[in-house]
Each structure stands twice: as C-alpha cells, then as structure tokens.
Amino acid sequence: MPESNSDALRSLLDEAAPQLTRLIAAMGIAPARRDDVLQEVCLAAWRKRPAGDDADHLRRWLFRVAVNRCRLEHRRDTRWRAIWPNLTLRWSRSAGGRGTHDNPPDDDDRVLVRRALTELDPQPRALLVLRYFLEFDSKEIGRILDLPAATVRGQLRRAREQLAAALKQSGYRDDE
C-alpha cells in the first residue's frame, strides 16, 4: 500500500477510534471482548480496505465493518447462550443462589434494559445505535449499511417499536 494511503488510513483510524469504541460498546459486546473486536476491525481495515482515496467512503466502510463484526460476535454469543441458561442454573444452584449484595433496584432496571436490547436482532440494534447514540442521520446510515434512506427510516421506526414493546414486556418500571 502506498505510504500516503497508509498514513490516510492510520489517520482515519485515529479519528474514528472513539466512535468505533462507542459503537462496539453500545452493540452489547462484553467489555473483555471489546478491544479484541476493535483490533479485528483495524486488521480488516489494513487488509481489506476498498480502493481509492475517498476518506468519507473509507470511513463509512469502516463503520460497516464494525457493525458486521459486532453481528458476527452476537451470532457466536447466541450459540454459546443456547447452553448458557443451563450452565448458569447449575452453577447458581451449586453456589446456593445469589448473594444479597447483588442486584440493587437500579441494577435490576439495567438488567431489564440490557435484556430488551439483546432481544433485538443485530440489524435493528445497529440502526438504533447508529441513529440515537452515534447520531448519524438516516441518509448517512443508509450509506454505511448500503440501504436506501427510506428503508432505514422504516426499519428504525420498527426497531423503536420493538424496543418499547420488549421493555414493556420485561416489566421495566414505568415511572408515572
């Protein structure tokens, strides 16, 4: 890779790092896995970057790689979680149940919110994160995920409805 392209990619990675970190965290990747996921995104950037010098195009590509990498992580996690409840149950039973210092009320709510977010498929979750956490607009999200802006808006609306429904179903407290 020409040195100038290498410098451009390095600058881009420097600039995008905080947002990529936030994206990965908001996509529900466990803290212990986040640095690995981010490193893998960087390595993909070095090895598979698209041709050309368009920094905006490269930046969108980078975010798409990060979203796809998070999706892959969730798929692996789902396979593991298929056996997770049984393992958790066995360990909890053998340990005599939960300690009383666990799950004060605020943490209960946080667990419910996390669970509701986890129930969303990775695509709607990614849309929510990109729109409402990283504050990309629908057009930009469409460019990142290679979708028409109207499709993004429609999917975002459904994702919001799903999230609200999932939280309501989980028993999340509703302060009135």
Binding site: L13, L163, Y172
Partner: protein
C-alpha cells in the same frame, strides 16, 4: 406495539416522540393524542425506552476495557505492548501476529494449559521455523494458570460474574497464544516477555 386502533397515526408516533415531525404533522398528532390514551401511552413508552437505551449505551461505553484506550497515536494494543512498539513495521507485525493468534486461539487453549515437562508450541505449529527463544521461566508460564485455578467457578453466583470469568479466561488464552507467536518472530522477544507479564496481571485481576 403498533396501535391497532389508530393505524393512520401509528407510523407517525416515533417521529412525533423524537420531535422530528413537520409542524403540520405534529399538530395533527398532538390533536389526536388529546383524545387517545392508547397513542399517548405509546408515545410515552417510545420516549422512555429510548431514554433507557441511551442511558445503557452511555454506561456500557463508560465500562472501558482497561487494557485498551484510543490514544493520539491511534488504535494501539495494550499499554505494555504499545510502549515497546517504536516503529510502524513492528506494530504491523504484531498486529498481524495477534490476528493469526486469534484465529488459532480456540484450538490452542487445551495445549496452552501447562503440562509437566512441556515447553514451547506443539509439533507442527511454530516449532519448525521458530528461532531459538529463551523459554519462559516456570513462574511466567504457570502464573496465569495458577491465577485461573485460584478462582473456584462454583463460587461465582451471578450471570455477570460467570460471564466475566469465562471472558477473562478466554482473553488470557488468546493473549497467551499471541505472546507465543510474538516470541517466535525475530526481534520481538522483549515484547513477548512484556506480553507474558501483562497476561499474568490480567490473570490476577490487576488489569
């Protein structure tokens, strides 16, 4: 969640809840909400669920992975690696080594766990072309495993503790394979030693 009773307003509620409706549409929805408790509740749920999600994302992002922080120099590995890497070439070599090590990590975990009398990688992996390396001391090799063994999985009580335990051990396994790979690359012996030191800290829960 779509309000079956007011289908004509259902697709405008998200936009309204976010304050992004046009003035005309916002006025129509507001007028409708005055007389429709179901839609009012739906808007309320949309707003609350988004606020809850944002709070969760903020907290999740604040749970910084302790061995990785974006810096002015860029996306760099853990501090103990970063401080040793003086040149881009070395960083790239290590980045590629880490990538290869990640792919090997799952298959490598069983043999990594120290067994009596075993040193170095198993036959058929790096051994054939690897330069002679100073073997790690017994303490360096066994410290992570000893720290892992000190935690009794049966003592873990919550799902969060169990997940953290498994993630930590997975991380240790991956880092260890990376360290062995680094040790096999000429010129990176010091980085490999720093990596083993860092791995031992992770295993002790100090990082």
């Amino acid at each position: 969640m779509t309000n079956k009773h007011c289908p004509e307003f259902a697709e405008w509620l998200v936009e309204f809840a976010d304050g992004e409706s046009t003035a005309e549409r916002a006025a129509r929805v507001a007028e409708h909400l005055d007389g429709c408790g179901a839609c009012r509740a739906a808007v309320d749920r949309l707003q609350r669920s988004l606020a809850a999600a944002r709070a969760e994302w903020q907290q999740a992002a604040a749970e910084d992975s302790p061995d990785f922080r974006p810096t002015k120099r860029g996306l760099s590995p853990a501090p103990c690696f970063r401080s040793r890497f003086r040149s881009r070439r070395v960083w790239r070599l290590a980045a590629c080594a880490a990538a290869a090590a990640l792919l090997m990590a799952l298959a490598s975990v069983p043999w990594w766990l120290p067994r009596t009398g075993q040193e170095g990688p198993p036959p058929g992996t790096l051994a054939r072309n690897a330069p002679p390396e100073s073997p790690p001391t017994h303490a360096e090799t066994t410290a992570p495993a000893a720290a892992m063994a000190a935690i009794d999985p049966a003592s873990l009580q919550t799902e969060a503790e169990i997940e953290e335990y498994i993630n930590r051990q997975s991380r240790i396994a991956r880092l260890s394979v990376s360290a062995k790979y680094l040790a096999a690359v000429p010129g990176l012996e010091k980085e490999a030693a720093a990596a083993r030191e860092y791995i031992a800290r992770v295993a002790r829960g100090e990082d």
